[in-house]
């Protein structure tokens, strides 16, 4: 996550030019979306996690997480993260990755799709981010109980209306009778849980970026806004609140960064990766709640308006923390693992790397 990195610079430039939060907030319609998406596709960023031979840009896992963190810094409202995730899933399964916006399914723990003997899918997946705007959906489905990856045309699915707190599409998708365009062989270790873990890691990176952004926005505002004849940032109570926000952002950046690095080096989704994923999704999710509250408090009424950019970040933080398992969902899993291993294994588990 070094900042003198050409991928980070290029990504930042695209968002500055085509997805400036204030410009997007002021826009009368969604006409900014097309040029943004085209620029992202042209630059190869939508296919960052797809190897060259499967149609992608072949960037590293860590590069992809850097792109996602930067996209969080701009509260990017297009399915970049979902498309990256779908590209990762498809290419891991050896399926050639199509161009265009994509998403994945399932996205909730415990949900399973099945692939029948007739070659058609059965099942429904809820809370699928951006299904409403995606052209394709990369799914994991059970064929005779074994997970395989399949590529599905979104138009063939029954997609419900629905949106996240941020107004981004979030839909239930019915797959009954849909025949996939491609189906992979089973890949060792690639199952619904691996997808959940990768999805959680993606959201952790985006949230870390958004937390850095609301910290910066709040600090800048506190230097400018005057009350009682001084900038509010000169009041100790405000300073200490922002110091706490700094701490929450720091925890998120550290946890998400460590997770990205761990996945980048891991061969498979083992216990070490699980500890990092669960910890990051829990801690970054907590930071999202705490941090958003502090940022709003520092802004007073202006931050509660539709025309201010703050809500672009805070509503996404609130909504991203629920995607691919909330803090509570991951905490129960992590707690159960720790308890099953026993008290004396706790420290050895934490004190590695």
């Amino acid at each position: 996550m070094s900042d003198d990195n050409i991928i980070i610079d290029a990504t930042t430039r695209i968002f500055q030019d085509l997805c400036d939060p204030q410009t997007v907030t002021n826009a009368a319609d969604a006409s900014w979306k097309t040029p943004l998406w085209e620029a992202l596709e042209e630059s190869g960023l939508t296919q960052a996690w797809t190897p060259d031979d499967l149609g992608g840009a072949g960037a590293t896992i860590v590069d992809g997480f850097d792109v996602l963190r930067v996209s969080g810094e701009f509260a990017v409202p297009v399915p970049l993260a979902e498309t990256l995730l779908a590209g990762w899933l498809l290419s891991r399964a050896g399926i050639v990755v199509p161009p265009g916006a994509m998403t994945i399914a399932p996205a909730r723990r415990g949900e399973q799709l099945t692939l029948g003997n007739d070659g058609a899918l059965v099942g429904k997946a809820r809370d699928i981010p951006f299904a409403g705007e995606a052209e394709k959906i990369a799914v994991i489905a059970r064929r005779g109980g074994t997970p395989v990856v399949a590529l599905v045309d979104r138009a063939a699915c029954a997609v419900s209306e629905g949106s996240s707190l941020a107004g981004d599409p979030r839909n239930s998708v019915g797959f009954d009778g849909v025949v996939p365009q491609a189906i992979s062989e089973p890949v060792d270790g690639l199952d619904e849980d691996a997808l959940m873990q990768m999805g959680a890691a993606v959201r952790a990176a985006q949230m870390a970026g958004a937390l850095q952004a609301i910290l910066d926005i709040s600090v800048e505002y506190s230097k400018e806004r005057v009350a009682f004849e001084r900038p509010i940032g000169k009041f100790q109570a405000v300073q200490h609140n922002l110091a706490r926000l700094g701490g929450e952002a720091a925890a998120a950046i550290a946890a998400a960064g460590s997770l990205a690095d761990t996945i980048g080096r891991a061969e498979r989704f083992d216990d070490q990766v699980f500890l990092e994923v669960a910890s990051a999704k829990i801690r970054v999710g907590e930071a999202a709640g705490e941090g958003a509250a502090i940022a709003h408090q520092a802004h007073g009424a202006i931050g509660f308006t539709a025309e201010h950019i703050l809500h672009r970040f805070t509503t996404r933080l609130w909504s991203w923390r629920d995607d691919f398992g909330s803090e509570s969902v991951w905490a129960v899993r992590l707690g159960e693992m720790v308890a099953a291993r026993g008290a004396d294994e706790l420290w050895p588990m934490v004190a590695t790397q």
Binding site: M1, S2, D3, E73, Q212, A213, L215, D216, V219, E220, S222, K223, G233, K234, Q236, Q239, H240, L242, A243, R244, G246, G247, A250, A251, I253, A254, A255, G257, S258, A260, D261, T262, E276, A278, S279, A280, I282, R283, E286, E327, S328, W330, A331, V332, R333, L334, G335, E336, V338, A339, A340, G342, A343, D344, L346, W347, V350, A351, T352, Q353
Partner: protein, 387 residues
């Protein structure tokens, strides 16, 4: 981004993990031999000269220091591993920890060569204990209000006044103290304080009076100076300018594992209490605490790794201390809630209760010692550009 917070994903290099194995083996043997018991160690005073001597023999005190002073010239990340493994089992390090973390590095930077050659090797052998004399009755958070005087006399200084809350002063061989050599000035209220090395065992005119903690433990003291003589070569650094001497050691001091592991035993015993199959509430509670602990550790390792690599993560270091001390302070509270429905007769319930009582009692000090939360948040706010 204007305030870009940075935490490089530092990984401990292989030599650290090799050292960790050695340290765990050593601690296991010490526990087996009855030197200390992790279940009762938290409420003992942690003062054990024989243990410190054996740690010294291992070469684990002053690990990063130059070899000519008895050190091993190993990395700060290796020191990190030693520190965290000792903390995880509440090992009794009172004799050497202050000298190892703070005083030794100050001497290396500011003491004359002959004093370094005399004292530093003794520290590394675990034979020499330090205390820190900064706070006074009228000067706590506001360090620069210190009024205990060092007055110039033939060949040295005469010290008069009192320090308070001085941890380990009753056992320490030396103090590094902050004394007033001049009045502060209009332009600089921090001017006029000088750092001194004081021989606590061989200086007439020093009286150490115990002050008990509310737990009953005698750990800190009042130290009264009445014409206590300190020779010229015991001045550390520039006269009147101690304020300039805050060094990178400060970042190490703020960001180490001891900043979140002081009550770690209560988490371990909570997990034991809740058993192999906790209910959802218990599991969620443990999961959140472990996620928070893991994140703090990643932050702390990262800051130490960045320091080792020559970066200056000043803001990040202060954040680790603030968040770490907040966490270790709230840990007993969370543990108490989560254990509320554990069977009274469950396996380790008695040990857990005893440790919880103790952790609850000492929790308040965690956000006061070494600089309060409020002072720390002021520093963080400055790092964010607000002051």
């Amino acid at each position: 981004m204007s305030s870009a917070i940075q935490f490089d994903p530092i990984r401990l290099p292989p030599e650290c993990e090799a050292l960790r194995v050695e340290v765990r083996e050593f601690l296991k043997e010490e526990i087996a031999a009855g030197t200390f018991d992790p279940i009762t160690a938290p409420y003992r005073d942690g003062f054990n000269p024989e243990f410190s001597r054996r740690v010294g023999e291992k070469g684990w005190i002053g690990l990063t220091w130059p070899k000519k002073y008895g050190g091993q010239e190993r990395s700060f990340l290796e020191r990190y591993v030693v520190t965290e493994e000792f903390r995880a089992v509440s090992a009794p390090t009172r004799v050497h920890f202050t000298a190892d973390r703070q005083s030794g590095p100050v001497l290396i930077k500011y003491a004359p060569e002959d004093i370094k050659m005399d004292i530093l090797p003794r520290i590394t052998r675990g034979e020499c204990s330090f205390c820190i004399g900064m706070s006074e009755p009228g000067s706590g958070s506001d360090l620069f209000a210190a009024s205990t005087r060092a007055t110039k006399t033939d060949g040295g200084y005469l010290i008069n006044g009192a320090k308070v809350w001085t941890s380990s002063a009753h056992v320490a061989d030396y103090m590094i103290g902050l004394f007033r050599t001049s009045a502060s000035t209009e332009e600089n209220r921090r001017h006029g304080l000088t750092s001194f090395l004081v021989d606590m065992k061989n200086t007439p005119g020093i009286t150490v009076n115990p002050i008990n903690h509310m737990t009953g433990v005698h750990e800190f003291n009042e130290v009264v100076f009445e014409d206590a003589f300190v020779p010229d070569d015991h001045v550390l650094g520039e006269i009147d300018s101690a304020w300039k001497q805050a060094t990178s050691e400060l970042a190490y001091e703020r960001s180490g594992p001891e900043r979140f592991l002081e009550t770690i035993y209560i988490l371990t015993e909570l997990v034991r209490s809740l058993g192999e199959k906790p209910d959802k509430r218990g599991a969620e509670g443990i999961g959140r605490l472990v996620a928070q602990l893991h994140t703090l550790r990643r932050m702390s390792v990262s800051v130490n790794g960045m320091l080792q690599a020559g970066k200056e993560p000043t803001l990040e270091g202060s954040i680790v201390k603030d968040m770490g001390t907040q966490w270790e302070q709230k840990l007993p509270l969370r543990a108490r809630e989560l254990a509320a429905f554990v069977d009274e007769d469950a396996g380790n319930r008695a040990d857990f209760d005893e440790l919880l009582r103790f952790a609850t009692m000492i929790a308040p000090k965690l956000t006061i010692q070494g600089g309060t939360t409020e002072v720390l948040r002021g520093i963080i706010a400055r790092g964010l550009g607000l002051r």
